[in-house]
Symmetry: C2
């Protein structure tokens, strides 16, 4: 993409309303624009990252056997009356009356609707297990939206719903999502720690929050330091095999949020030098809730003996839009964002120091074409902006590599290649530049 | 995808509420489920087609230089008060009051919001031309939603917005979208004819509706038969070149919807044997509307002389979700849907006639693995369903090719390969089957 044809509205001033670094950087880097309190437009650079996060989530959901579909944003209130949540949900639910005076709502989550879909089509244990998911915009009318996309009102969530014949089978489905989540966050360059979570009024259920450590996290967390170095299952993990060993390993040490922490247990279980007390950002949650929705909504299946039983369900959320905030909280320095390769909006920023020059123009065009042909996404700064502004913009938007093509360097036949994360710079021939970037950026 | 692990809820009965064939087939094939009047869930098969349509739209928008972003579904009423449309829009606008009693709405379109974004960042003619688009759910509270996804309330639309310094430049942007639309529909296997459209109260403006001919179309259309055979620009079309010749060619013959038709002109301009009077489905619209929104909203840019002028705008819509209906209206027979290759949810339906059999199982597994490795998407029916039901399902869901692996054929070392569109069947060795499908289905 040529910057001269792109839409990258960089802000020079740090917006006053932004309280945390990810919000400041997303606004300054022209990634999002607030349209109303807690409601954002995703400008082209932000949209590209959002899509890359979605792709990783989709790939790992598919690997774990979940099937993608899409439910609408607007739901009928009647469904929520069946589950009893219409009155219970409170003011966070955005309630709507349509032109025929029917009560509707903007879905804050989809347990009711997916259960309605299940009960409409599925009758037999033979059709289980089933795991259906979608990635759709949700709305929660937070009383005080803040922290940019981290706590917005309109937000993008992946929510999956599993259906099983009994609790044992449901735990197998739970384990698949648990392992998929470990892989999903790892692929984005994040270490997400599964922590014991509140399961609500239904006792005995199973739930974990996946938490990324960050100074600006919304809650305090208590965990064992070994979680930070524990290896995550590779792409060859067999989701048809017994995954309980992996889940056991990943839940063997203490890890809990402030809502549920038992400090005495934390200190008893974790040696002092391994104790981490830090702030954390929740980026996902897995939840087995049994027949909480299938009972009131009448979602039953026939067993092999012919009796009818309510189906056992779980739900599994990933905060797709909030992950942009979490990723930036975990990956930035004073100059701007430092994107992990897998979610970077472009891989390389190519700076032409003197557009119109006999040396820099052909060198840039040639490298641009060759990188794009190799499947590497390049943002090519072909503008007349000042050199200082060009460098600052590239540092701010945080692409993994920068290549600077200047007349002086090219007289010596060299380009400058900078690694954004380490700051390391080297002078390389155009051919060596191409080879280095292809090796570093393709799998 | 193994059918035993998929979610494909086929309906045996034809649903009574469906008035047109595309709606009936989408319900029967388990592609969509109505959740409320005019509001649908996209079940896995329907969701796959929706995504393929989106990809084609995105690729052709990018080719034409439009830049993708994403605006939210919920908008502030204040913006619409600035343009004067808040009161003018009527009951089709879904109006919402949030917990702080602020007037909000579910966006039926985005002219106001994109103009607000433009005016917030762009100041100079140097940043033009600019064309920003998104693919987002919209809501129009139709008094009587009908025809399934063809006239739903919550629907997916691609809307692009161009910004130019003056009318001449705006027409260049218009022409790019016009050509992109010809290519977009053609890639889906549709012949969409650009027809003169109503431009509303502002005279002298430029607008075309892109119409697909179908017996169940919502309006009557009048056009020259040559449009049905006119070649569409290829992938090598240069969007930086002057496209006015292509647009002139594609608007040289008479073509108008019933809203604007001048029957005398139609008969004068079109020889009798070339006159087509038929029903049509609108699948897109291009619209140049000048400064209609930039004036009231104050979206101005500085010219090269330093004066400030309101920017000239156009908007360009593609009905992404309604295209599924239009595609099925144009591609079906008595047995079901016949998907064009480019938008088919899977390319091949592979039927194992006797799961558990020593011949059919390894033949199916081998072909399945090899087709998937070649990038061909296969729906592998590995279920115990009756043979008749398997055949009927495959015909109903309309994948371009079916492969039947039966014990008798395999004793002779042969599979049956059926072309869904032509009905042609042939017996081929597994190797010849693979070669045939790879040749037919990869580019």
């Amino acid at each position: 993409m040529r910057l001269s044809r792109y839409f990258l509205p960089i802000l020079k001033e740090t917006p006053k309303e932004a309280e945390i670094v990810s919000h400041r950087l997303m606004l300054r880097a022209g990634m999002v624009r607030q349209q109303s309190a807690g409601i954002y437009s995703w400008l082209p650079l932000g949209h590209k990252v959002l899509r890359k996060i979605e792709r990783i989530v989709e790939e790992e959901q598919a690997r774990a056997g979940a099937i993608q579909m899409l439910m609408p944003t607007i739901q009928s209130a009647d469904l929520w009356r069946e589950s009893g949540r219409y009155d219970a949900y409170g003011k966070e639910m955005l309630r709507i009356t349509d032109r025929h005076e029917r009560d509707m709502l903007y879905g804050p989550t989809n347990e009711e609707m997916i259960t309605e879909i299940f009960r409409s089509y599925v009758r037999s244990y033979k059709d289980l297990p089933l795991n259906l998911y979608h990635i759709q915009w949700k709305f929660r009318d937070e009383v005080r939206p803040r922290f940019g996309v981290m706590r917005g009102r309109e937000f993008l969530m992946k929510d999956a719903y599993s259906f099983d014949l009994d609790q044992d089978k449901a735990v197998e489905s739970y384990n698949k999502m648990f392992v998929a989540y470990l892989r999903t966050y790892k692929r984005m360059g994040l270490t997400a720690i599964p922590m014991r979570a509140e399961t609500g009024p239904i006792g005995g259920d199973l739930s974990h929050e996946f938490i990324v450590l960050a100074d600006t996290g919304e809650s305090e967390v208590y965990c064992h330091a070994d979680y930070l170095t524990k290896p995550v299952p590779g792409a060859d993990v067999d989701f048809d095999s017994d995954l309980s060993g992996i889940v056991k390993d990943w839940t063997s040490h203490y890890a809990a949020t402030e809502d549920v922490v038992d400090k005495a247990a934390f200190e008893a279980e974790v040696p002092e030098e391994k104790r981490i007390v830090a702030r954390g950002i929740e980026v996902g949650q897995t939840f087995y809730f049994g027949t909480k929705y299938s009972e009131p909504l009448g979602a039953k299946v026939a067993t092999s003996e012919g009796t009818e039983v309510p189906v056992h369900m779980g739900s599994y959320g990933v905060g797709v839009s909030r992950l942009l905030g979490a990723l930036i909280e975990a990956n930035h320095d004073d100059d701007g964002i430092i994107w992990p390769k897998s979610v970077a909006p472009f891989h390389v920023g190519l700076i032409n120091m003197r557009p119109g020059d006999d040396l820099t123009d052909p060198a840039c065009e040639d490298l641009y074409a060759k990188l794009e042909a190799a499947g590497i996404e390049v943002l090519y700064d072909d503008t007349d902006n000042r050199a200082g502004a060009k460098f600052a913009t590239m540092d701010l938007i945080g692409l993994p590599y920068q290549v600077v093509a200047g007349p002086r360097g090219l007289k010596e036949g060299q380009l400058e290649v900078k690694n954004r994360a380490t700051g390391e710079k080297e002078m390389l021939t155009p051919e060596a530049t191409l080879n280095k970037l292809v090796a570093a950026l393709t799998d």
